[in-house]
Amino acid sequence: MANYNIDAKKELTYDAIVIGSGISGGWAAKELCEKGLKTLVLERGRIVEHVKDYPTMNLDPWDTELRGGLTPEQKKKHQVSMRSNWVGTDTAHFWADDEANPYTEVKPFLWLRGHQMGGRSLLWGKQTYRWSDLDFEANAKDGHGVDWPMRYKDIEPWYTHVEKFAGISGEPLGLPQLPDSHFLPPMELNCVEKHVKSRIEKEFDGRHLIIGRCAHLTVPHNGRGQCQNRNRCSRGCPYGAYFSSNSVTLPAAHATGNLTIRPFSIVQSIIYDDTKGKATGVRIIDAETNEDIEYSAKVIFCNASTLSTTQILLNSKSNRFENGLGNDSGELGHNLMDHTYRVGAMGKVEGFEDKYYKGRRPNGIYIPRYWNIDEKSKNDKFLRGFGYQGGGYRGGNAANIEDFGADYKDSILKPGPWEFFITGFAECLPYHDNQVSLNADVLDKWGQPTLAIDAEFKENEKAANKQIQEDGVEMLEKSGLKDIIGFDNEHPPGYGVHEMGTARMGLDPKTSVLNGFNQVHAAKNVFVTDGACMTSSSCVNPSLTYMAITARAANHAVAELKKMNL
């Protein structure tokens, strides 16, 4: 396996610098390295080598002393990420140290971070959906936010490009609002999901229930093994069966011989040269030694994750950019979005008591958006739309059964009742006042100003959530489910972990930070291709779009370098 070149001591100058090694940073590194650019990837955490650094990948619950439980010290260290309920001993080492990296919640906001090589690409949900022109035209049509400087036709070849390399499984459906990817074979629905699918598609015109489209290999692909249905993905996959920077893009970048990755490198700011009129490099703090070091490059890619990228730009002040690099418009830090999360419906399914499944499929079902896609589907209660994820499984809570003793014990050794749930993800409009700013009153472990996050879901998102719950209950009722519960946990932004915006793309430098190829309008050799660049939020998961946007921008950067335009 890869034995990464981490020696960035001798060489301080590179063709390209990539800040961050998560989903988008890994793609930037791969594309730039493969096009022959000597590339330095700056990673604020440690090296995590594929397989070698997945210490928990094969552990059963009884193999760890506390079977997943965290000590009070670990709970303190992960006091923020714990709110997600996803942090256990199996993954704690992939979640950031919340004590060392504080932020301020002006309004409640869950900021989940992964500070290591690969970032959150190790932990992500792996749902992968193309956006459509319904998304890219949304702002222009209803007037919220600014228009995207690109359309589906501009990004379509790059979706194809990244999908063929990453490996996306799914079923083609031909829906205009959810374009098909280049798919590996789809995963399988279980019998209850097939039942609900047939009922929903019969009862509701225009609604579909499909197996989730996801970045899991259902067949061997590009030297990686197929999914073994262990559902232990977020510990790191020994087969490389799901897409992560660690298993896919960074090994490819390394194979070119052009990659240097420097761990423990916290980017303090991007250096802008007023006389040259462009960025010349990056200033870092070594997280272990506190040493300040400057690296130079012709192009700089910002892929630190949505809010961290914006934090770096805000902190990159110069005579030319007093309020942060590229902030002529005043939009840097603004228009933060996320998807609404954990609002939906669930119930029990009868009639399948003699059926079970084998394997722990790391994927669920998807119900694509069906509101506001044409005149017929117009909903006057909210703008834009939502999709559902969910699934069927044998669950129940044995502790709730009002019984105990010998017969009870023997009964709970058998699988519980079939349950089925759907939970919606609604598009969030870009609001100028959903914003982040630098906070010099709270410093991190390295003495750097931190972020204050001031964002909330507003009336449109709340109206969409109401519809999600109502429709969810109705669909489950029509599917014959029992004991149906509609729910809305009223999570604030952040829980969806689809934070987007704060350095948006746009046509006009007066109202946006980036141009149509993700270049900072007034510093064209600085590219932002992580979630910060997003101009709107769609209702589908954004990671595949980050990959495509990054590959597109990286190839543009190389072309512009050749033309001596950067």
Partner: protein, 198 residues
């Protein structure tokens, strides 16, 4: 057992409840409590007896191992000792004391010292009065969770400890660490017990 120490441990030092006759039998009953065969990290001897007796009643030995066979009580003690903060630990102590106090008031002795039929009565009453867990989605409870109460919380912990023990996980439930294929519709008769890994 020293009377004052016993009172302190059951959390009954304060208040008028002290003078009831049931307390007397509670204290007398101490003599007949079973001796522990292990040394708790967190529980007192009496607390460990309460928990041990409780989990044995909920998940007794049948033709498959019971809770005590797979050391559910020992594991619960360890989890409370090593993962709870001080407030959480104190809450557990208080709840066990209140549970035993209720047993003493209603049946004349601490839980572990009651005879078998009384213990069954206690559990039947607890099953009725204890709260229920809301369902969850992706690891998170949906809706607003009403208080669960000591009994159901401990029952849930016991089931977790039981299912995640190696003995049950590998030999009693269906252990399938590397499933390979996913089969979404398999006759239950071909599987039998539930899968041990979630």
């Amino acid at each position: 057992m020293d009377r004052r120490k016993a009172l302190k441990k059951t959390g009954l030092l304060a208040g008028a409840a002290l003078a009831t006759p049931s307390i007397l039998s509670l204290l007398q009953a101490c003599k007949s409590e079973p001796r522990l065969t292990w040394k708790p990290e967190f529980f007192t001897h009496d607390e460990a007896s309460t928990i041990g007796t409780l989990v044995d009643m909920i998940l007794p030995r049948t033709d498959t191992p019971g809770a005590l066979d797979v050391k559910v009580d020992v594991f619960i003690d360890k989890v409370i000792a090593q993962t709870y903060d001080e407030i959480g630990q104190q809450n557990i102590r208080n709840e066990i004391a209140i549970f035993n106090k209720r047993c003493a008031e209603n049946f004349g002795a601490a839980f572990a010292s009651l005879d078998e039929s009384k213990k069954v009565e206690v559990l039947r009453a607890e099953e009725k009065s204890s709260g229920k867990f809301n369902p969850g989605v992706w690891g998170t409870t949906i809706g607003t969770q009403e208080p669960i109460g000591f009994y159901r919380s401990m029952k849930s912990m016991a089931i977790w400890a039981y299912f995640t023990s190696g003995e049950i996980g590998e030999k009693v439930l269906n252990y399938d660490p590397i499933p390979g294929e996913y089969d979404g519709c398999k006759p239950l008769s071909e599987v039998g017990n539930r899968w041990s890994l979630g």
